[in-house]
């Protein structure tokens, strides 16, 4: 097995990645921590001195804080549930024999290639617009009152837009997993007369556990920091202000760097709580 020599070589080879990421994490983090204890208002002259924990207290006691945490969690979990459930169904469907499988697969993965800004713009204007949007026309065709998506159903709308972007990713990973399913096992079950549902429940689902975990892990990492979709569509109105967006408002709109930095520290804490939580599950599932 690994010799002492290869161990030190391994450490050496790991070093660039670790050092780079450590720098990428620590340098801004240190500065953020520093700013978070200061009254730092660039539009009022910059650094106005130390204020202790004032910014932390102010950020967390603002009426926007807890709702933003809740919104973040709702959006993340909403997208996860939709992409995983539909991803599994879609993966099973795509695994079936059919004509033009390649083309269908191309159609399904296409949204993943679209920039978040573009997809938010397209959804907002061309689909969800209550007057000129396609959905409004569709509703109108059935004689229904058009839905004002981005104000009356704002969080579900954003969940939908983001899910559309991430569904291909989930589907692809789950599809690869399904394709690796031992077809003999399935056939045996089929021969034994196991009904479709129980085959799905006892054979397919357990097999997908690992892939699902991976999907959840990777998507969570990206979803916790979604920004463009909210910036383009609602700008944080109608209860769509996530923690990331709240920090954006403090840092860029109010130009209160101290307060925003304190918010950044909270976001890091939240991310780590989620991370630890995830690692527990993932760790178990990814072992071996």
């Amino acid at each position: 097995m690994a010799t002492q020599h290869s161990r030190s070589a391994a450490r050496l080879m790991m070093a660039p990645a670790v050092v780079l990421l450590l720098g990428w994490m620590l340098i801004p983090l240190t500065m953020t921590l520093l700013f978070s204890f200061k009254k730092y208002l660039p539009l009022r002259g910059g650094d106005l001195g130390w204020v202790g924990f004032d910014n932390y207290v102010r950020f967390v006691t603002s009426s926007a804080f807890w709702p933003s945490v809740l919104t973040t969690l709702i959006i993340v979990s909403g997208v996860l549930i939709i992409t995983v459930v539909f991803g599994i169904l879609l993966a099973i469907l795509l695994d079936q024999p059919m004509w033009g499988q390649g083309i269908v697969r191309i159609l399904v993965i296409a949204p993943f290639f679209v920039m978040p800004t573009v997809s938010a713009l397209v959804w907002k204007n061309m689909f969800m617009d209550p007057v000129n949007g396609l959905l409004a026309h569709l509703w109108g065709a059935f004689g229904a009152q058009p839905v004002e998506w981005l104000s009356q159903a704002s969080v579900p709308s954003i969940v939908m837009i983001v899910s559309w972007q991430w569904l291909p990713f989930a589907t692809l990973i789950l599809l690869t997993a399904i394709q690796s399913l031992d077809s003999e096992q399935m056939e045996a079950a089929e021969m034994d007369g196991a009904p479709i549902l129980s085959r799905f429940w006892y054979i397919v689902l357990p097999h997908l556990g690992r892939a699902t975990t991976v999907v959840i892990l990777i998507q969570t990492i990206f979803l916790l920091s979604i920004f463009a979709e909210i910036f383009v569509t609602t700008q944080g109105s109608f209860g769509t202000r996530t923690l990331t967006y709240l920090i954006y408002q403090r840092v860029l709109e109010s130009q209160n760097i101290g307060l925003g930095s304190a918010g950044g520290v909270y976001a890091i804490i939240l991310a780590n709580i989620v991370a630890i939580f995830l690692m527990r599950i993932v760790g178990k599932n990814l072992d071996g």
Binding site: A9, A10, R11, M14, P16, A17, V18, L20, L21, W24, M25, P28, L29, M31, T32, L93, P97, M98, W99, G100, V104, L107, V108, A110, P111, F112, F113, V114, M115, T117, S119, L121, V122, M126, F127, N132, L134, H137, W164, L172, I173, L175, T176, A177, S180, A211, L217, I221, S225, F227, V232, T244, I247, V251, G260, V265, A267, A271, A275, G283
Partner: protein, 276 residues
């Protein structure tokens, strides 16, 4: 007995899959179609699907207003450069994690992933100040480095999962034959991992291409990629659906085409160790 499927079942599958596929693809299709309409047709009620006067005027107008090729070139350099750099840094790291694992390997891996959870907007101010001091604002090299760093954890992890599937015995054998570490990586490991590396490269090009926070906030004129290009069309005065569609199509077309051509490669490799 191989899985025999009745034609009837195949027809049902095909219909269902195509319906779902078209539904998912529809927003993109609609955007592309709208880009060939006039502004008035773009909002006509009821909407027109195919039978309208196809026109290229939106594309001409967008091109007149912004130098598309320059934005495109910047996107190519930034996405390509950051991916290349990331791969170079990540291969040795992933190698050592996969073949010389220690107790802390998994912790390091998970820690790397957790750095991706830092909210970019929270560290924008510090990064901006650093960039000013280093003269990196509005430079492609600055963005290449930043995007490399943001995606490095994903690259390392993906590569790690591929490398781990390569049987260690092959390497042992090579080592017995006196291959050096460098030779081992270069001539044995890398060729075996080509599909995995290809897929990692593709995924990261997509992620870097679509990154819209750093690319917008750290650029002005020289290094601005397609994400900045689209920001000048997002909500102009008056009717704009057709022009927006044209600009959107131009922004996503290159990566869409690349994605389609390489989808087999991407699909084969996109497992993140999900399949054992």
């Amino acid at each position: 007995m191989s899985r025999s499927v009745t034609t009837q079942r195949k027809i049902i599958n095909t219909t269902a899959a195509w319906a779902v596929g078209l539904l998912i693809f529809f927003p993109i299709l609609w955007t592309i179609l709208t880009s060939f309409k006039t502004e008035a047709q773009a909002i006509s009620d009821p909407p027109v699907f195919l039978f309208f006067d196809w026109t290229l005027e939106n594309y001409t107008e967008v091109q007149e207003r912004s130098d598309y090729m320059r934005f495109l070139w910047n996107s190519v350099i930034i996405a390509g450069g950051s991916t290349l750099l990331g791969i170079i840094v990540a291969i040795p790291a992933a190698w050592s994690m996969a073949f010389v694992p220690s107790k802390r390997t998994k912790d390091i891996l998970l820690w790397m992933l957790s750095t991706k959870m830092l909210p970019a907007v929270g560290v924008l101010y510090p990064i901006y100040l650093i960039f000013i001091n280093m003269g990196l604002l509005d430079s492609k090299i600055g963005l290449v480095v930043v995007l490399m760093l943001t995606n490095l954890p994903i690259i390392v992890w993906m590569l790690y999962t591929y490398f781990r599937e390569i049987p260690g015995e092959i390497l042992e054998a090579a080592r017995m034959d006196g291959a050096s570490l460098k030779e081992e990586i270069l001539y044995i490991l890398t060729p075996m991992a080509i599909p995995g590396i290809a897929s990692t490269v593709l995924l990261n090009i997509i992620l870097a291409w679509n990154e819209a926070f750093w690319t917008l906030n750290l650029t002005a004129a020289n290094a601005a990629p397609l994400t900045a290009f689209i920001a000048s069309y997002s909500s102009p005065e008056g009717l704009f659906y057709a022009k927006l569609s044209a600009a959107s199509t131009m922004a996503i077309a290159p990566i869409l085409i690349l994605g389609w051509f390489s989808q087999k490669q991407l699909v084969r490799g996109l497992t993140f160790g999900a399949v054992k």
